[in-house]
C-alpha cells in the first residue's frame, strides 16, 4: 500500500490524518478489516463519547488478541444503547449481569477459560463511572487485588447519565447534575468530594493502569494494545464527554475531551506496577474557563453573577494535577 511520507497535522487538532501515516501506525479503525466489535445501528446519542471510546477500545483489544475476546458489561448507557433485545450491536461474546458486578463476572469468565485451558481467549470488563467508581467499586477492587486476568475499562462521563444525569463519585466539583442542583450559595457538586479511581487502581500495584481521552484515539489504542500485552488485572480509565449530561454540542465531544486534557483537569498517563511510566504532555496550556464555558452543567459559573472564585478553585485543581503528574512539556 502506498503512503505519503509527509508529516502533516490538521490545523489546531494535533491529529495526524490516517492516510498520511505509515500503514503500521494507522488506527485500527482506519482498516477496512477492523472487527466492528461494537457495530453501527446502536442507540447512543449523537456525539456520545462513550460509544466512540468503546468502539476504539474494544476493536483495539480485538486486534491485539486476534478476535479472541469476551466482554462483561455493567448496567448503564453502554449496556442499554447497544443491546435492546433482540438487537445487539456486539459482534463479540458479551454479557451483562447487574450494575455492580462487571469486574466479578469477568473474573468468573477468566477463571472458566483458565480451567478449560483456553489461554488464547482474553477477557475485558467495562462500565461507566457509576458502575465503576461507585456501585461496582467493591468488585473492582477485589478483581484488582487478586490480580485476576481481566482488563477493566471505565468510560468516565462524570455521572449517571442513563438514569437522567445524577451525581457519581466521578462528577467534577461545581458541575450541575440532577442531584447536585445549580442553586444555593455553592451551586453544583461540592468541592472536596469524589475520587480518582486510576490512582486507587495504582495503589493495588496491578500490572497496568492508564488514562485516555476520546480526543487522542491513537493514544487510546496504544494503551489498549499495551494492556493486552500484559496479563493480570489492568485498568484503563477513558474520559468520554456526554453531550446530554454536560449540555454540550454533539459536534464538540472531541474538542471538550481535548480541553479536559489541555487544561490539566484530566491527567493522561500510564502506570505499571503502581509507578507512572509515561505522561501525555499538555500541548497548549489552556485556562479552565475554555473547558468549562461550552458546558451547560457549568453555566451557573458564567451567568449574571460570574463565579470567578469557583473558577479559580477549579483552576487550582488543574494546576495541582499539572504539578503532580508533570503535565507540562520541558520549558512549557
Amino acid at each position: 500500500m502506498s503512503f505519503q511520507p509527509v508529516k502533516f497535522y490538521q490545523t489546531g487538532t494535533f491529529t495526524v490524518g490516517n492516510r498520511l501515516l505509515a500503514p503500521e501506525e494507522r488506527s485500527v479503525q482506519a482498516s477496512a478489516h477492523r472487527f466492528n466489535s461494537l457495530t453501527s445501528g446502536h442507540r447512543a446519542c449523537q456525539g456520545c463519547g462513550e460509544a466512540l471510546g468503546a468502539r476504539y477500545a474494544i476493536d483495539a483489544a480485538m486486534e491485539a488478541c486476534h478476535g479472541q475476546l469476551i466482554a462483561a458489561n455493567a448496567t448503564g448507557c453502554l449496556e442499554v444503547f447497544t443491546t435492546p433485545y433482540p438487537e445487539t450491536s456486539w459482534q463479540i461474546p458479551w454479557m451483562h449481569s447487574v450494575f455492580g458486578n462487571a469486574a466479578a463476572v469477568a473474573t468468573g469468565i477468566a477463571a472458566a477459560l483458565k480451567v478449560k485451558g483456553r489461554k488464547e481467549v482474553r477477557v475485558i470488563a467495562q462500565g461507566g463511572d457509576g458502575g465503576t467508581t461507585d456501585i461496582g467499586f467493591g468488585c473492582l477492587s477485589g478483581m484488582f487485588e487478586r490480580n485476576d486476568d481481566v482488563l477493566y475499562i471505565c468510560y468516565d462521563n462524570g455521572g449517571y447519565m442513563n438514569t437522567g444525569v445524577q451525581r457519581s463519585s466521578a462528577t467534577p466539583p461545581a458541575a450541575r447534575t440532577a442531584t447536585t442542583m445549580a442553586v444555593g450559595p455553592e451551586p453544583g457538586n461540592p468541592f472536596g468530594q469524589g475520587k480518582f479511581v486510576p490512582a486507587i487502581a495504582m495503589a493495588h500495584d496491578i500490572p497496568y493502569v492508564a488514562t485516555a481521552t476520546v480526543a487522542d484515539l491513537h493514544d487510546l489504542e496504544a494503551k489498549v494494545r499495551r494492556a493486552m500485552e500484559l496479563h493480570g488485572a489492568r485498568y484503563i480509565h477513558i474520559f468520554v464527554p456526554c453531550p446530554l449530561g454536560w449540555g454540550t454540542d454533539s459536534s464538540d465531544t472531541i474538542r471538550i475531551a481535548r480541553l479536559a486534557k489541555e487544561t490539566g483537569l484530566f491527567p493522561v498517563f500510564e502506570a505499571e506496577r503502581g509507578e507512572v511510566t509515561a505522561v501525555l504532555k499538555i500541548r497548549k496550556r489552556t485556562p479552565v474557563e475554555d473547558y468549562l464555558k461550552p458546558q451547560k452543567r457549568f453555566a451557573h459559573l458564567f451567568g449574571e453573577h460570574p463565579r470567578s472564585d469557583t473558577i479559580a478553585r477549579i483552576q487550582a485543581l488543574a494546576d495541582k494535577n499539572i504539578l503532580k503528574y508533570g503535565l507540562l512539556a520541558e520549558g512549557g
Binding site: P93, H96, A104, T107, A111
Partner: protein, 417 residues
Amino acid sequence: MLKQIEGSRAVAEAVALCRPEVICAYPISPQTHIVEGLGEMVKSGELKHCEFINVESEFAAMSVAIGASAAGARAYTATASQGLLFMAEAVYNASGLGLPIVMTVANRAVGAPINIWNDHSDALSQRDSGWIQLFAETNQDALDLHILAFKLAEELSLPIMVCMDGFILTHAFERIDMPSQEQVDAYLPPYAPRQVLDPQAPVSIGAMVGPEAFMEVRYLAHAKQMQALDLIPQLTTEFKTQFGRDSGGLTRTYCAEDADTLIVAMGSVLGTIKDVVDEMRTDGHKIGVLGITTFRPFPLAAVQAALRDAKRVVVLEKNLAIGLGGIVSTNVRMALAALSIGMYTVVAGLGGRAITKKSLHALFRKAEKDDIELLSFLDLDQNAVDKQLERERNTRRCGPIAENLLRDAGIVAARNY
C-alpha cells in the same frame, strides 16, 4: 464407602466428586467448613481442573459464579443468612439468565438481631428468586442432594440451592456413605451448557427485554420449574439405581397412611418429629409426617395427595413471615385449597431455639384435640414479650429491644464465664 465425618466435610467431598470447575469462597458461618474443605482439596491437587477463588463478598461470589457458568464452567459456591441476602441481586440474575449454578445454603437466621444459629429465614427469603430449593433432612441427604442437584440444574439450565440446617447438620459428625468417583461420573455427565460465551460463536447474554417479551421469559422460568416436578422423581429413581439409596424426591411421608394428624416440616427437625411420632404411635395416636424435600418448585400435587385424607395438618416451620405467619404453611394452604382440612401454623426454632421432643409431644397432643391457635409460636416466652411491650408503653426512650430482653432474661455475657 462408609465414613464418620462432619456434615460440611461430607458436602465438600460430594461436591468435589461432581468435578466443579470454579468455586467461589467467602466466609460466613455456618457454611465456612464446606468451602474450606474444597479449597484444601484444590490446593493439594486432590481436586484437579478447578479454580478456587477467594472473593471479597457474597455478591462477588455469586457474580463470579455467574461469569464462570456463562463461560461454560461448572460453578459452585456456598453461603448463609446475611450472605445470601447480600448476594440477592445476583441470585435473581443467575436464575433469570438460566445459569445452572449449585449453591449450598447452610440455613441460618437473618438479623437483626445478628444470630448465627439455624432457622430457614435465609433460604425462604429467596423462595421466589427462580432457584430450585432442596432441603436436606440428614447429612447423607445433604451430600446426595448435591450430586442430584448438579444433574438437575444442568438438565434444566436452572440454578439450585441445596439447603441444610446450619450447625445441626453442617457441624454434626455422622456416619455417611460416600459414593466413589466412578459412581458419580456414571450418574453426572460433563456440563454441556445451553448458552456459552465463546468467540467462535458470539452471543449477547443478559440484554434488556421490554414489555413485549418479559412476561413470556418469566413464564418460561416457571414452566421450567414445573418440568422439575417430573424430572426430580425421575432423577431420584436413577439415583437409587446408581447409588442404592433413596435420596431427593419431592416429598417424603412417614406413618402417614392412616394418620388423622399430619405434621409438615422441612430439614433436620423431621428427625425429632419422627421420634415423637414413633412414641405417640406406640400410645395409639394416629399421627404421621410429611417432609418437604423440594420446596421450589412447590410440589402442590404431591402435598395434596399426602394430606388429603388427614383431619388436620400442623405445619411446623422455622421461619416467620412477619405480619402474616408462616411461609411454608402459606404454600401448603394452596395445596389444600379445595379441601376442608384444618391447618395450624406453628413457628418454631427461630435463631436456633431448640425444638425439643418434650415440647413437640405437648404440641401434637393439643393439636390432635384442635386445642391450638391457627398461628402459634413454640416455646415463646410470652412474659418476656409482655415485659418489653409494657416498657415501650411507659418509656419513650427505652433502648435497644434485644439488649432489654437479654437483661430481663438475666443473661449477661461477661457473667457466663
